[in-house]
């Protein structure tokens, strides 16, 4: 479903030199998989994830999502392709002046859905995340966990093939974290959506991922397989992340 081929991303440093946030990296994520990107702060997890929907454009390499190479698309084509890739954020990034229903409707309005279709789909998505009774509330009236559910419903609304979640649970307490992870897993199982999660917590990986790439200094150090919550780690880094959990 997602193929990153030799992608590389560098940033200009203030001193004029280059900083390599993602070194030439290749990674394939299968359809219907829940895939983790794990590593310590600054490892390049977010950058790698943002390459998938081209929020960051790679300096080199290609990004193929659902058989389409995004790097070759025009601005208009890229906007269409992005409607196929939902995104969930650590800080939720909801529209404060729109209701819960309005937020979930937003990507559908962007995609040009009819009013009737939007209404139906919004109701379905709120049902999935269990927020039907909050449809008319504003984000300021919700708890963190509820806000994240709105974020997930919003990402799910346009029937995407892929959902990207960047530290989606890092602002939440452990119990709420588990319920959000369950929600993502539920969506993955019911609708076959491919899910990519960025996290620095091995527990998140253990709880929902089938595979996870361990990142360090912009490189994939190891790809872990998670079977029944058990993780065989070879690299030093993966072990230290496991111990921290």
């Amino acid at each position: 479903m997602i193929h990153l081929q030799n992608v590389r991303k560098r940033y200009r440093r203030p001193d004029g030199g280059w900083f390599e946030a993602v070194a030439s990296t290749s990674l394939s994520i299968g359809a219907g998989e829940i895939f983790g990107l794990i590593g310590y702060s600054g490892a390049g997890k977010s950058t790698l994830m943002r390459l998938i929907n081209l929020l960051e454009r790679p300096d080199e390499g290609s990004v193929i999502v659902d058989t389409q190479d995004l790097t070759g698309l025009s601005a208009r084509e890229l906007r269409r392709a992005r409607q196929n890739i939902g995104m969930v954020f650590q800080q939720f990034n909801l529209l404060a002046n729109r209701t819960v229903a309005g937020n979930v409707a937003f990507p559908l309005e962007i995609a040009g859905w009819s009013k009737g279709d939007i209404e139906k789909r919004v109701a379905e998505c709120l049902e999935v995340v269990g927020l039907t009774d909050r449809a008319g509330h504003y984000p300021a009236q919700l708890s963190g966990g509820q806000k994240q559910r709105v974020g997930i419903a919003r990402a799910l609304a346009p029937n995407p093939k892929v959902i990207l979640a960047d530290e989606a649970t890092s602002a939440l307490d452990p119990k709420t974290t588990q319920s959000i992870l369950d929600c993502l897993q539920d969506i993955n199982r019911r609708f076959g959506v491919t899910v990519v999660v960025v996290t620095h917590e091995m527990n998140v990986v253990r709880s929902i991922c089938q595979r996870a790439a361990v990142l360090d200094a912009g490189r994939v150090v190891e790809v872990l397989d998670i079977v029944d919550g058990r993780i065989e780690a070879e690299s030093e880094l993966a072990r230290s992340l496991l111990e921290a959990a």
Binding site: M87, A96, N97, F106, I110
Partner: protein, 228 residues
């Protein structure tokens, strides 16, 4: 100079009612033209200033730099000097340099960059992440402007309009004195040059009342639109 009783003062003022009403209309005309220019040109200019900043969707260093410089240039003129230096332009545009329409020319000139900065400032308060979320959903620049920035910044924009209106009520008084007419001009002509202090006091009270009303309405509207 003989002393006036309160009743005499009221009688004088009521005799002047038509002139006061005329002055109000002139002030309103100056304001309406100035504010309309601020919306039509200053608003888009404010958006452009914001959108061309580094990291924004139309990031462009040169365009941003040039626009910022122009805005600062106009804003650094003391209003009275701006008025005088725009006399030739006013004559070309309006055909005369007296009357409220003529006075509205320098008012508009001052209002455009002023409002542009207010808009830019307000837009900066919209969290970058919200704009980014819209980008990730495939929103076009126009959709980001109309469905994200305008909606998320709306109560701040209303507050900006309130500030603009009140500032320009005061500017319009200055413009009035050099031939524009309006409330400020009336106050000066009668209250200062003809020693009819009651006219001055009445006009100032009128301005105080207008400012209070504008601020009250602005605050109410802004609070109502703010769901944050």
């Amino acid at each position: 100079m003989e002393t006036l009783t309160f009743a005499d003062a009221l009688a004088n003022l009521s005799m002047m009612a038509p002139e006061i009403w005329q002055a109000c209309k002139e002030t309103a005309l100056m304001l309406v033209i100035g504010l309309a220019a601020a919306f039509c040109f200053g608003g888009p200019l404010g958006f452009l200033l914001y959108l061309t900043q580094p990291g924004q969707i139309f990031a462009h260093r040169i365009v941003n730099g040039v626009l910022g410089w122009l805005v600062n240039l106009v804003r650094s003129f003391p209003f009275i000097i701006l008025m005088v230096s725009l006399v030739p332009l006013t004559r070309i545009l309006v055909g005369s340099t007296i009357g409220p329409v003529a006075a509205a020319v320098p008012l508009s000139f001052a209002a455009i960059p002023y409002f542009a900065r207010l808009v830019e400032q307000t837009l900066r308060e919209v969290p970058r992440g919200v704009v980014e979320a819209a980008e990730a959903m495939g929103a076009s620049p126009l959709q980001i402007i109309t469905k994200v920035l305008l909606v998320e910044a709306r109560s701040g924009l209303i507050s900006g309009v309130t500030i603009l209106t009140i500032s320009f009520l005061s500017y319009s008084a200055v413009a009035g004195v050099v031939g524009g007419g309006g409330i400020g001009d009336l106050a000066i002509r009668y209250g200062y040059y003809r020693f009819q202090t009651e006219v001055m006091i009445a006009m100032v009270l009128l301005l105080v009342l207008i400012v209070q009303i504008i601020q009250f309405v602005g605050n109410r509207l802004a609070a109502r639109l703010d769901k944050r």
